[in-house]
């Protein structure tokens, strides 16, 4: 058998007409200490051959559990009922041995976290070959399978595939590992591919690569695809149909365009309204969905979304609404008794959401009216450098190189201003942040806080100046001591800085109210709060000393979308109310566009473009910024399908060995299109940061505007 026959063989069983996958009234429950968790409650959907179905929902909505049920990969303790028919054959009740003949052969799966999805002790090539051998061990020799594995790696865009197949997973970057997992998934030309949050753990540029690869995979295999995500942007351009899940059930299904343009269930409306839009210039009202998803152990009767719904009426609490056809379309169905009223509103999509949920644009702070140049500088970085040695050897360490983590960056933040610092992981964002927070003399360049150069500080002044600067961390779970009460958590900075007992006791409840929490909860422990509430506690702690500058390290990236909007709104209100300046580090450019006044784009330890947020987003000058912006999906199916995506090739080069001249040139599409003499400029000369427009600088020899939104 030749390799192409392996990929395009005729299936052993006759192809059944009708849907590839048909799920009917699926129920899944797990035992827990609080009672049975009913993770999936009566879910029905189907996928036709070649169709892409997007399943959207927050964590705990049952979207992953239902697809694991299809794969037969749920733990033994799970109780499953209903029907899952794959190509007309019932899967529920099959033994593991029977299911293993279908898994990987007819239904393939791509998982969320590529870092842990591969077995660390076998080579990538062997693991792909195994997917072939396990199903056709009799017909395909080991050598043929290995050869095929190399071809597959090549197909998914791993350069130098024959060599890389011999590498172990830890030698691959996250994006490359996800490619390897996709190679495994398409190895046997499956009829259905289930992708469970396939891009969530990846950088935006890599996310764009992986999404494109999934599209290619679908074209090559002709498989139906189920793509599970919490990000409405990811599926907008890719999916044909959408299913929104809440509390273990489908609450709205329909064609992608219908759902994005005419959502008929308040939850879907809320989700759409809660996403900051990359393509909206003017200030947009973000919809926070209050409360949390319900516990699935003992659901009260009635609509499970009712406690969080702005349109709730008494009738909502009597019975759980079934999915009903809306707008006379048989494909568009929603589970809400008030769909008619939603349809009757004049506005559409996100605007309707803002209206129904009563979300308002947060007002600009007073100080924003003062021209930027006339405001005080809160933080200033001038050609700051941070390098790490690379050591080798176990017994005798010797230095073999230098990681240029931050290679001379300059920016300033003025009073009442938010600077968004963005870039891929490994670009030096976090190092910059640590340099600022450390308040130590940098290896090179200068850092000034409130006009004081930090290298001139003695330890007493350094301690004093820490009051003016505080930090909110990314992971709200890990950044609060689980053994301190909330009161102690918020009081700690004040105790350290010698506040009196009375003042602390007065300030703490005040701070709780400020971040939208009830002071009665002060005696509780962090474990009793949800992620969004914990992040609010983290913000209260950061504000305890009345700082002038708050450093926010990815403050919303660990939160569900509906919660995220609430925290973003809170940050904006606080900034306006307290006149704070923010340094907002994020990889989500949509959030940055929404919250920041200015944005700085980092690449390999350098700022390659900086400026006023609308100018940078609407008229990006640097090819990297253009690629970064074009990689971000927009939650609008019509726009998304028309967009031309700039796909960057490969991964970030090693900061230990950055390219000469312009650091971006190895991945630059503009550089690739230039004539040789101009290319030489990129290779030999490092581009300086040059003014492109008022408050807009970019570091590119051949900077030109390219609109990508």
């Amino acid at each position: 058998m030749t390799s192409s026959e392996i990929l395009f063989d005729s299936p052993a069983d006759p192809v059944v007409e009708g849907p590839v996958l048909q799920v009917e009234d699926l129920h899944v429950s797990f035992p827990s200490e609080a009672g049975r968790v009913r993770a999936v409650r009566g879910l029905s959907y189907q996928v036709s051959p070649g169709e892409v179905l997007g399943i959207v929902g927050e964590s705990g909505s049952g979207k992953s559990v239902s697809s694991l049920a299809v794969m037969g990969l749920l733990p033994e303790s799970a109780r499953i009922s209903g029907s899952i028919k794959f190509q007309g054959r019932e899967l529920i009740g099959r033994t593991d041995a029977e299911l293993s003949k279908i898994r990987g052969r007819r239904i393939a799966m791509v998982f969320q976290d590529p870092l842990s999805a591969l077995t660390p002790v076998y080579t990538v090539g062997d693991q792909i070959a195994e997917a072939i051998l396990v199903h056709r061990g009799g017909a395909v020799s080991k050598q043929a399978a290995n050869k095929r594995a190399v071809e597959l790696l090549d197909l998914v865009g791993i350069p130098n595939a024959a060599e890389r197949a011999k590498a172990f997973p830890h030698e691959f970057s996250g994006g490359m590992r996800q490619r390897a997992v996709i190679a495994m998934a398409i190895a046997n030309d499956p009829d259905l591919i289930i992708a469970d949050e396939p891009t969530t753990a990846l950088d935006v540029t890599v996310q764009a690569q992986v999404l494109q690869l999934l599209e290619t995979a679908q074209e090559v295999t002709g498989a139906g695809i189920v793509i599970i995500t919490h990000d409405l942007g990811v599926v907008a351009g890719f999916a044909d149909r959408l299913m929104v899940m809440y509390a273990g059930r489908a609450v709205e299904t329909g064609k992608v365009d219908e759902i994005y343009q005419q959502p008929r269930m308040p939850y879907t409306l809320g989700l759409l309204g809660s996403i900051p839009r990359l393509d909206v210039g003017e200030k947009q009202a973000l919809v926070p969905i209050t409360g949390q998803p319900p516990s699935l152990t003992d659901l009260p009767p009635g609509c499970p979304f009712a406690p969080r719904c702005p349109m709730v009426v008494d009738a909502c609490h009597t019975a759980e609404p079934p999915l009903i056809d809306v707008d006379g379309s048989p494909e568009h169905r929603a589970a809400c008794i008030r769909t008619g009223e939603i349809a009757a509103t004049d506005t559409e999509g996100a605007e309707a959401a803002a209206e129904i949920f009563g979300a308002e644009v947060v007002e600009e702070p007073e100080i924003a009216k003062v021209p930027r140049e006339q405001r005080d500088i809160v933080l200033e970085l001038d050609h700051v450098v941070k390098e790490y040695p690379v050591n080798k050897g176990v017994v005798f360490k010797r230095r073999v190189g230098t990681v240029h983590a931050v290679a001379g960056i300059s920016f300033d933040i003025r009073e009442g201003e938010t600077l968004g610092l963005v870039g891929e992981s490994g670009c030096g964002k976090t190092t910059t942040l640590m340099e600022i927070l450390g308040l130590e003399k940098p290896m090179g360049g200068e850092i000034s806080v409130l006009g004081t150069n930090v290298s001139s500080l003695d330890s007493k002044r350094r301690f004093e100046i820490r009051r003016d600067m505080s930090v909110v961390f990314q992971d709200p779970m890990a950044s609060l001591d689980p053994r301190l009460t909330i009161h102690d958590v918020i009081a700690e900075p004040m105790q350290v800085h010698g506040y009196g007992k009375d003042e602390i006791n007065r300030r703490v409840p005040e701070l709780m109210r400020l971040v939208g929490l009830r002071p009665e909860q002060l005696s509780r422990y962090p474990g009793e709060f949800s992620g969004g509430q914990r992040q609010r506690i983290g913000i209260a702690r950061a504000l305890a000393l009345e700082p002038k500058l708050v450093v926010l390290d990815e403050p919303v990236s660990a939160l569900d979308v509906s919660i995220q909007a609430g925290v973003i709104n809170l940050l904006e209100e606080l900034k306006s109310k307290l006149g704070l300046a923010y340094l907002f580090v994020a990889h989500d450019l949509s959030v940055v566009r929404h919250i920041a006044d200015r944005v700085a784009v980092m690449y390999l330890g350098k700022i390659i473009e900086i400026g006023e947020v609308d100018s940078v987003f609407d008229a990006p000058r640097h090819p990297y910024t253009q690629a970064l912006l074009s990689a971000i999906p927009i939650p609008d199916p019509v726009k998304e399908r028309q967009r031309e995506r700039i796909i960057l090739t490969g991964d970030l080069p090693s900061p230990a060995n950055p390219p000469s001249g312009c650091r971006f040139r190895t991945r630059c599409f503009l550089h690739a299109s230039l004539p040789p003499e101009q290319q030489r400029t990129c290779i030999e000369l490092e581009p300086p940061r040059e003014v492109q427009a008022p408050d807009h600088e970019a570091a590119c020899h051949f900077a030109q505007i390219r609109q990508v939104l």
Binding site: M71, K101, F111, T119, V394
Partner: protein, 325 residues
């Protein structure tokens, strides 16, 4: 890689020397072989005591004695015992006895320990898991002294019920046994079963606990799910991807377990009257014999350091992530 392991090996030679020197010094400083000699009844003549002193180099300072002894060791001569028998002759035989006992015991211990640990983890909180847990804790909390004697009693009753001496628990072979090689083998096996069991049982209990927890860590891992999603049955995914990864942290345990067991088996050797290295250490100390004590210490040091070296090799072989380039 080879260079790295070679460097390690050189370090180990130095460490073994230091350990032996310390043991030799300590033994020389505390032992009083002449005192033992003088207490004999009737006391030996003064001339023979003087001769003994010279034989044992007691007239020299301790470091010099060590250098003299070590000079012999390098040439393969470990000196003589107090009773004036060459240690080298006995050393080979005793190492053979110990290794025969422990290699088999620890091999069985590792095999069954891993097996039981894996089954316990896969069937967590099922009857078999509780059963294995209970027995492991009973075995771990029973001193070998008690376990060995219980085994003896059990063996005796088995022998009685069969009416023939199948399980023999004294010595490693029947003195003056006559027969062909096959009958000899059978005789040795009869002697081997009980002490091997005494060692293996404890090892099984110990390893199964560690294997269980390292396997539990792997059970929830994503790569196991990926393997199943590829089409491996759960059992095959568990064995090929799960167990293989769960064995990595066990490598150190296996290696050092062996190194320490060779002397830790003193009780087992005494209970079943096997004249191995552990037994020799006790004999050496009670006879106030510096040379025997130092020889056994050197042997232990070499065993432990070889184990460490073996652990490095095993680790590198099992885990590609730590291979040194």
């Amino acid at each position: 890689m080879a260079g790295f392991l070679l460097r390690r090996l050189v370090n180990y030679v130095v460490l073994a020397l230091v350990a032996t020197f310390l043991a030799f010094t300590l033994a020389s400083a505390t032992f009083d072989p002449i005192g033992v000699l003088q207490q004999r009844n009737p006391p030996p003549p003064a001339a023979s005591i003087e001769a003994k002193k010279r034989d044992l180099h007691l007239d020299q300072p301790i470091p010099q004695r060590f250098v003299t002894w070590m000079g012999g060791v390098v040439q393969g001569d470990f000196g003589r015992t107090i009773t004036d028998r060459p240690i080298t002759d006995e050393l080979g035989r005793r190492i053979g006895v110990s290794l025969r006992l422990f290699l088999l015991g620890i091999t069985l211990g590792i095999l069954f320990g891993v097996l039981i640990g894996v089954v316990s983890a896969i069937r967590q909180y099922k009857f078999s898991d509780y059963f294995a847990t209970l027995f492991s804790f009973i075995l771990l909390s029973t001193p070998v002294l008690v376990l060995g004697n219980l085994l003896k009693i059990g063996a005796q009753s088995i022998n009685d019920s069969i009416g023939s001496n199948v399980l023999i628990f004294v010595g490693e072979t029947t003195p003056g046994f006559q027969g062909n090689w096959f009958e000899h083998l059978g005789d040795r096996l009869q002697h081997l079963i009980l002490p091997t069991l005494a060692i293996a049982l404890g090892q099984i209990a110990y390893y199964s606990r560690y294997q269980r927890s390292s396997m539990l860590d792997v059970l929830g891992s994503d790569f196991l799910r990926t393997a199943q999603a590829k089409g491996l049955t759960r059992r095959r995914a568990l064995m090929k991807h799960g167990l293989r990864t769960a064995l990595i942290p066990m490598a150190t345990l296996f290696a050092f377990g062996f190194g320490l067991l060779v002397v830790g088996g003193t009780f087992t050797e005494r209970i079943f009257t096997w004249y191995g290295m552990g037994d020799w250490l006790v004999t050496g100390i009670s006879a106030q014999d510096t040379n025997i004590t130092a020889t056994v210490t050197l042997f232990v040091a070499v065993c432990v350091l070889l184990s460490g070296w073996l652990a490095d090799v095993l680790y590198a072989a099992l885990d590609p992530r730590i291979r040194v380039n």
